[in-house]
């Protein structure tokens, strides 16, 4: 059994592989990561990743840059550019040039930014995508700094835009911020829990000229990459 354990800033994920097939996966909030390995799994099978990779049991701990690269290649062997939108940071990996950039200085373009907006509207972050799809136009939001974007959001609401239109505009601002980090490419793969928000995928597709790919379970790509790395170690690669 090859196990990938991804303990990030908001959620923890585990994924089991057997003979190259995914046989099990589970996601819990980060602080409950222990539930993912409580049935007596042997550390020797585990490759960990994510912000807390060195704090959880593992045979090897590797960064999300490597797991995202391996996981993305599993879904699409021709993947060129990966955008991993995490809870606290966003990473853009350019596989064709072996380079990456990480935005971890501010909340702009990270899941935390959307959490803040959802919190303001007092709605679950999971409903942002659906509300986005109801808007036919967007309110202009120029600021991507979380704090200033909220005050801009409020002034657009006061100015007569609906909540749906403001959320649409927010996703657009988010996508523009991400786009600054993305190099030109035919295809861009979006991964990470935040990508489950279909509003984000729509906004990024509108902003980038590239074809956008989203794997079936975008939040599990890093855990998958970690399990694949464990498999590589078995193979002595």
């Amino acid at each position: 059994m090859n196990i990938g354990l991804d303990v990030g800033s908001t959620t923890a994920k585990v994924l089991h592989m057997e003979e190259g097939e995914i046989v099990f996966s589970k996601v819990v909030p980060s602080h409950r990561w222990i539930e993912l390995i409580d049935d007596g799994l042997d550390d020797i099978n585990i490759v960990s990743t994510g912000y807390f990779r060195k704090k959880v049991p593992h045979f090897a701990a590797i960064t999300e840059i490597t797991t995202a690269s391996l996981g993305a290649k599993y879904h699409d062997p021709d993947a060129q550019v990966i955008v991993d939108i995490g809870g606290q940071d966003t990473k853009v990996i350019d596989l064709s040039n072996n380079t990456f950039v990480i935005n971890d200085k501010c909340s702009a373009g990270t899941g935390a930014f959307l959490e803040l907006a959802a919190h303001y509207f007092d709605i679950p972050v999971g409903s942002l995508g659906e509300l986005h799809s109801k808007a036919t136009k967007g309110a202009q939001i120029n600021n991507t700094c979380g704090v200033f974007a909220i005050s801009e959001m409020i002034s657009q609401l006061v100015g007569g835009f609906s909540m749906e239109e403001v959320i649409y505009g927010l996703h657009q601002a988010f996508a523009l911020r991400i786009a600054q980090m993305v190099p030109p490419a035919d295809t861009v793969m979006l991964i990470g829990g935040t990508v489950q928000n279909t509003g984000i995928v729509d906004a990024v597709s509108n902003v980038l000229d590239s074809k956008i790919e989203v794997p079936g379970t975008p939040q599990l790509v890093n855990a998958l990459g970690a399990a694949l790395y464990r498999e590589r170690l078995n193979d002595g690669r």
Partner: protein, 313 residues
């Protein structure tokens, strides 16, 4: 006691010693400083400026390297001058004009009171040869990059005492180095004092430190030869010459990847795109601001870069 001359970037140290004074590169105290500067763009200049203004740096005069190098230093240097410090401005020619640089060296010599001990030229030259030998040692995996970097970065002022410095150079341990990838460090030097140790902890062997290597300029035995040698100081000249020089070193040192260190609010950051376009290697760009032990963000990037070169070559 010899008078101490603060320098803000590369000023021929052999000339300062030959004029009977001791240079002190004011940047060398910055990485270990815990001072929070008042107004700041780049922390390097802001910290040495505040340290001088607060009397925390024991210098008698200051030579500010302005032309062809750093405008932040030019402004912060003037703040120091306005506080009453004897200050001289040294300009490198962007077009590498040897006559211009010679005239700058003449002015500097006058500011320093004239040449008094010509033997210092050959003495410093011998030390630089030792520096080059140390540099080769790490290229050949026979010395730790962190030890070699500490020695090379001090070649801007020879630690204020060539005799003591020579002992320092002789004490750099020779040892076999194990690593996963060979990297070059280009750009201004990192403000984090443990940068090289941190890189080593992730299996990255730094085989080229761009700026400190520039300090090892040979062939300065009088003002004419100094002018010929220092006109090629790459940081003060056109970027295309720098790119060529870096390319040769990357090849000669067989590097697997390049780390471009940039400093917050430094114009050299704008050079990143040029390096990315012209250097055909995996490149990691990192940025620092205030001096402190390497932060987690830097560690993540170095670790990921090391993995990238090892796992997905």
């Amino acid at each position: 006691m010899k008078e101490t001359v603060g320098i803000t970037a590369l000023v021929p140290p052999e000339l300062i010693y030959a004029c009977g004074k001791r240079p002190m590169d004011v940047n060398n105290v910055v990485p270990e400083s815990s001072l929070s500067p008042g107004s700041k763009l780049c922390a390097w200049t802001a910290i040495w400026r505040d340290m001088i203004l607060n009397g925390g740096l024991d210098i008698d005069s200051l030579v500010v390297v302005a032309g062809g190098d750093c405008h932040n230093a030019l402004v912060d240097g003037q703040k120091v001058e306005l506080s009453g410090m004897a200050t001289h401005y040294f300009f490198y020619p962007f077009d590498r004009d040897t006559d211009y640089l010679r005239s700058q060296l003449e002015k500097l010599t006058r500011f320093l009171g004239g040449i008094k001990d010509e033997r210092m030229f050959s003495l410093i030259s011998d030390l630089k040869l030792k520096g080059r030998a140390l540099d080769e040692l790490r290229v050949n995996d026979r010395a730790r990059a962190s030890d070699v970097f500490s020695a090379l970065i001090s070649f801007s002022d020879m630690a204020g005492d060539p005799d003591v410095f020579e002992k320092m150079l002789n004490s750099v341990p020779e040892t076999d180095v194990e690593y996963s990838s060979r990297v070059a460090l280009i750009g201004v030097p990192p403000i984090y004092p443990d940068f090289h140790e941190t890189a080593e902890s992730f299996g990255l062997h730094v085989v080229y430190d761009e700026l400190p290597y520039e300090f090892l300029r040979l062939g300065g035995s009088d003002l004419d030869s100094l002018a010929r040698s220092y006109r090629d100081y790459s940081f003060a000249g056109p970027i295309k010459n720098r790119v060529e020089l870096i390319k040769n070193e990357l090849q000669r040192r067989r590097v697997d990847g390049v780390i471009h260190y940039t400093q917050f609010a430094c114009h050299h950051t704008l050079e990143d795109e040029i390096f990315r376009e012209h250097l055909d290697y995996p490149i990691l760009t990192v940025q620092g601001d205030l001096p402190r032990p390497s932060p987690e963000q830097l560690k993540l990037r170095l670790e990921a870069f090391a993995e990238m070169m090892e796992v997905m070559p």
